[in-house]
Amino acid sequence: MYLETSHLTIDFPVRKGPRDPFDFESRSAETGGEIHDIGGKPYVRALDDVSLALGAGDRLGLVGHNGSGKSTLLRALCGIYHPSRGSVRSDHDVSGIFNIHLGFRPEASGYRNVLLKGLIAGRSHAEIAAAVPGIAEFAGLGAYLHMPMHTYSQGMAMRLAFAITTAFANHILVMDEWIGAGDVNFQDKVVERMNSFFESADICVIASHNNRLLRKITNRCMWLDSGRVRAIGPTAEVLDAYESEAMSTKLESARQAALLRPRLDIPPEHRALWLTAARHGNEMEGKAVAWDVADYNVASIRVVVVAGDGNEQMVCTGSGRGTKFLGSWLRSGMTIALRDNVDGVLLAKLTYTD
């Protein structure tokens, strides 16, 4: 079992009406691929020289900011986009889930959509009929299975799409980022199903902005930046590098903001840091730490726990206003401090007593 790309490059023609101005000079470097012209016509280079080789049991995570080429790569792996240069090779069919509006008939019932998706995957009517109870059970649709899909909530449609695709997947599966968007229950089910899917040593490529999910289900990651591979390797390595860059970018912009708008003094009567009751997801209940210093021109903070010997352990970073669930982690006698993330100045401090 393998899935490989070699020097995969994809150029999108930029479609414009005869009177749409197209300004080559004012291109934005923030998102999207590089714009260049081939024979006088504008093209966006969505993927640039991407090579990867996956074998049996590999689960690749794709990270990168919006427009970095994740979805394009997934579609190219599926055979929806044909390479402008380079190639995609695999020894099995590649199944994909993109967005739930693509490849479903909203007016048709969930059941009819299961049938169509099964036929696309090359299954017989008997095989599809056999798969229906499992899909209905996973999606938790009940009687909704025979109602039009446009009557479903976003979450229901997502469950159905995921259930159908994994039920009919032919050994290689690619998934786009929406999969990380469901509620906590759904995500647990996704992780569970993904793990059982991989017991059969299949290949999966999943694009997501949910790094926690990627750490749980992938063993390798690829970091895409403007269509180019920034890094590829073990999940922990790539995600640590990706997160630390995201962090330093954030810190840098906070530093810029601090230069323009210096921090104001926080009056002692202002409640900057406090504990509050909260729940995490559907199950856990406990305390959360909350802070609010946004009005004093603080753009980036960090919450730390101060140990007995004065050493500090980071809890989280955040913007000027926010909360962070602590749960059972919080102990009586613990001291929590709020610091400005730019210059490290102590803003507020509290000690928890039960």
């Binding site: 929806i80 020894d91 590649v94 169509l116």
Partner: protein
């Protein structure tokens, strides 16, 4: 069902051939997609697809009533002439405009699944045949009033329908990719079909000579209608019309194959 690995990177002709082979092997997929299209159109109606037959019958009835007054032919002859002519015309004209929209209509599927594109072309063709089969029922009922005696020559209409089928397939393969690339074509084709209705002998009989006869002779639509209408109405095999239709089909198959093979790699980017 998905494009097999061998297809990627092969020559455009063999890749196109593989696409068609794969699509033809899954008739239940395009049949169900076509069925879903029809269901969408008549969802939440009481009469459902019966509307196709009803609206066709009413249309023809009113046309015969109004234009029959101006025609020199007997009412029965004119009625059958209009019923068959208009039935065949409505198939061809809706087939042409659906061929233009075959890819555009399936945009979400093209971007969401790696199904070989001929599935969408066959879906568009089949959807029109489903509609046409109901129209054919009305035409069959109308033929009870046929003014001429029944002879075996009427069976020549069957190869005529076969020619329609061939046309519906290459028409999709040709127009669908072109309309994705050039959206103006979609409107140009729809506009010209509306004009064609008047220069095609549907509501008027061409006669033997004069401007109308000349107009009918150079219009390929006339010949398309004749290969079905003449055997049924006049029990005769229109040899000249068949030559024109075969020639058009031959050219159409070649152009359709070229259009399909040369665009299949780019459709997903254009759409």
């Amino acid at each position: 069902m998905h494009q097999s690995p061998a297809v990627r990177g092969a020559s455009p002709w063999s890749a196109a051939w593989q696409d068609w082979r794969q699509a033809v092997r899954v008739p239940s997929l395009w049949m169900n997609l076509a069925l879903e299209d029809l269901r969408d159109r008549y969802r939440r109606t009481v009469l459902g697809v019966a509307w196709i037959a009803i609206s066709f019958a009413l249309f023809v009835g009113v046309k015969v009533l109004v234009f029959g007054q101006m025609s020199a032919a007997s009412t029965r002859e004119f009625a059958i002439f209009v019923t068959i002519g208009f039935g065949a015309w409505s198939f061809i004209s809706s087939m042409v405009s659906d061929a233009c929209g075959a890819y555009l209509h399936s945009r979400a599927w093209i971007l969401g699944t790696a199904v070989p594109y001929p599935v969408y072309l066959l879906q568009a063709a089949l959807r029109n045949w489903m509609v046409f089969s109901l129209v054919l029922l009305v035409m069959a009922v109308a033929l009870l009033w046929k003014p001429t005696p029944w002879t075996p020559a009427a069976l020549f209409a069957i190869p005529g329908l076969l020619a329609y089928f061939v046309t519906s397939v290459w028409l999709s393969a040709l127009l669908a990719p072109l309309c994705v690339r050039y959206h103006d074509l979609l409107h140009a084709v729809q506009t010209s079909m509306r004009l064609m209705f008047f220069v095609t002998p549907i509501l008027w009989m061409p006669g033997q000579n004069g401007v109308l006869a000349e107009l009918a002779r150079i219009n390929p639509m006339t010949h398309y209608l004749a290969i079905v209408r003449d055997p049924l109405l006049y029990n005769h095999w229109p040899a000249t019309s068949w030559r024109v239709v075969l020639l058009v089909n031959l050219a159409g198959i070649v152009l359709g194959a070229i259009a399909y093979a040369s665009t299949r790699r780019k459709i997903a980017f254009w759409i």
